[in-house]
Amino acid sequence: MAQFQLSGVRKSFDRTHVLKGIDLHIAEGEFISLVGPSGCGKSTLLRIIAGLEDQSEGSVRIGGDVVDGVRPADRNLAMVFQSYALYPHLTVYNNIAVPLRMRRLSTLQRAAVLRWLIPGTRETEDRIRSDVEDVAKLLGLKDLLQRKPAQLSGGQRQRVAVGRAIVREPRAFLLDEPLSNLDAKLRVHMRTEIAQLHRRLGATFIYVTHDQAEAMTMSDRIAVMMDGNIIQIGSPDDVYDDPQDLRVAEFIGSPKINILDGGVIDEARGLVFGSSRFAATFLERPGTSVRIGVRPEALRLANAENAPFSGRLAHKENLGAEVLLHVEIPDQRAAVIVRFDHGGAREISIGDAVGLTCSPEDLRIFGASGERIKAEVEARKVAHG
């Protein structure tokens, strides 16, 4: 187990800057997710931590030691790859045993011929066997030990890859999109398994994913990456409730946050949208036009006549446990999505006029370049002009 300290990590391939100065501290035993759209540099960052890639600038410390230039094998980290990277010619047993054999046996003791003649080989192999069997029992692989990877399903292969990582005690686990090759149902199931594994092992997990749901459900902290920068880092609740950037707000959460154009900060530092005014103090110059973000579950139905947001119901998605209304508001690029619990909004049908409102503290206001505009919420009621 170890903590990680990344300072000023940059990476460029020729003229492309993939990482533009990453500072990140990862505490011992923490489950941290690096999440972002593809191409944001999250995998490159993980590979730099693993030592599979060298950073162009900056340094990485693991447990207090600077590991720049230290080979991956000597960093004592375990990695689970997106493609699982199992050795196709080896059985499940041998796949899981590889990290132990590499570390506990000498080159001669690994050689195919005469290895049993070298003292200690048999004893070490016996210990390896019991360790591999423990892991197999933990992951439910006991009956598959003699199979080859090609004879396994995706989920089983994924488990073997995890087994190969946890069989020795590495300082941390690096997981590079380990669930993205699984079908949706299995992915949800493995999410729970990995989170439980983390609790059981108590080790540091660094988890790379493009799926915000995986990051939200498993992590202690989430680092949201865009264009080679970490633009926000915090607990799942922090990142969800208090996005510092429009891109974070849009990336985290499903269904996506609603973004409405056309808000303006007035003289009294309140927010004006159309004919409505939200009485709150926003720390921004009067006259600034802003974009209004509001989560689907923060919206409530209101009288269409005088609600701050009003439009027509374009589509209704019934997902069983929840109902999503797609409300088209004039002059907005996308339909506003409103989330109701099961049984909500039964009386509204497609084409109906719908009025929507929300509390001022549920508004997330962003400037023209996507930066968050902070608010001092004064009053909790919406004033109508």
Binding site: A50, G51, L52, R71, P72, A73, D74, L77, A78, M79, F81, S83, A85, L86, Y87, P88, H89, L90, V98, P99, M102, R103, T107, R110, K148, P149, A150, Q151, R164
Partner: protein, 316 residues
């Protein structure tokens, strides 16, 4: 609704097999088309491959002599003669020895070079081309160059040996050295081909396997080679081994140009025996029997490849 009804009617017609003769005719047409499309390939195969092999097989049971007006069936006489012929056994042993030297060496050299080229970052294309040149060159012409280089008095190789204080060798006229020398030329001619196949094989190994190996603690290139490269190259290696073996069995050009099977049958090989029996002594029947023995070896190799080894190197 009209089109639904129409579709139902068509379905009903098909279901009750309204016109079985139409379907039969269609099926016959299909097989006719298949036959027509296959015909050119079948004719060529029969003409160029199966026909000649059958002719050789037939000829091996006759006493036919090249140019003779008549021939008669002699049964297994040619094979019996081969069985009792010391030269044939020398020739067979020499061929197997040649294969045993050339195949492992050209595989090891080809694989080694492929690994070196792949691990380097510069001049890859240059090295690839340079080592591939012997494969493209006409062996019979190259054999003549080798003859000059191996000349006992003024050959380049002996001059170089003298320069560094080693005794000159009679490479092609010493019965002990002649076959290994021919084999060395065989290796020189073959390893570039194997190298290219191995290069292709190495490129197709997924890089994440090496990354997994490194994370698993495979510190040295040696352990990564045995953990990833060698097993992943299994199918390529089998293919290369079989191709190399078949090509080595076919050794002829160098023997014909450089030694004519000598000195004292030290480099007599199967194809050379066949050639001399058939075209120097005109005993075509006997030559055909040698050809059949040769074909049996090639067939054996192919079967071993297909049946035994291929299953072990494809990991599914």
């Amino acid at each position: 609704m009209a089109d639904v009804a129409l579709a139902r009617e068509i379905d009903a017609n098909i279901a009750q097999g309204a016109r079985p003769h139409v379907r039969l005719r269609r099926r016959r047409m299909m097989s006719m088309t298949a036959a027509v499309l296959l015909a050119p390939a079948l004719v060529l195969m029969a003409l160029l491959l199966i026909g000649p092999v059958l002719a050789v097989l037939l000829m091996s049971f006759t006493d036919y002599q090249l140019g003779a007006p008549t021939w008669s069936l002699v049964g297994l006489e040619n094979y019996i003669e081969l069985y009792g012929d010391r030269v044939f056994w020398t020739s067979l042993t020499n061929t197997l020895l040649y294969v045993a030297i050339v195949v492992p060496s050209s595989i090891a050299l080809g694989l080694g070079l492929a690994l070196l080229i792949e691990s380097g970052s510069t001049l890859r294309a240059f090295y690839r081309s340079i080592f591939f040149i012997p494969v493209m060159a006409t062996l019979i012409a190259m054999a003549i160059s080798w003859e000059y280089m191996l000349h006992p008095q003024f050959g380049l190789i002996n001059l170089m040996l003298k320069e560094i204080g080693l005794p000159a060798q009679a490479w092609l006229s010493d019965p002990v050295l002649a076959l290994p020398t021919i084999a060395a030329i065989g290796i020189w001619q073959l390893f570039g081909f194997n190298m290219v196949l191995f290069l292709a094989g190495i490129v197709s190994i997924p890089s994440h396997l090496y990354e997994a190996a490194v994370m698993d603690g495979a510190r040295s290139a040696w352990s990564r080679f045995w953990l990833v490269t060698w097993p992943m190259l299994g199918p390529v290696t089998v293919f290369v081994a079989v191709i190399s073996a078949i090509r080595s069995f076919q050794v002829f050009d160098t023997v014909h140009v450089l030694t004519k099977g000598g000195p004292s049958k030290a480099t007599e090989v199967l194809l050379y025996s066949m050639y001399s029996e058939g075209f120097e002594f005109f005993r075509s029947g006997l030559a055909a029997a040698i050809a059949v023995v040769f074909l049996c070896f090639v067939l054996l190799l192919t079967i071993i490849k297909a049946r035994l080894i291929e299953k072990k190197v494809h990991y599914s």
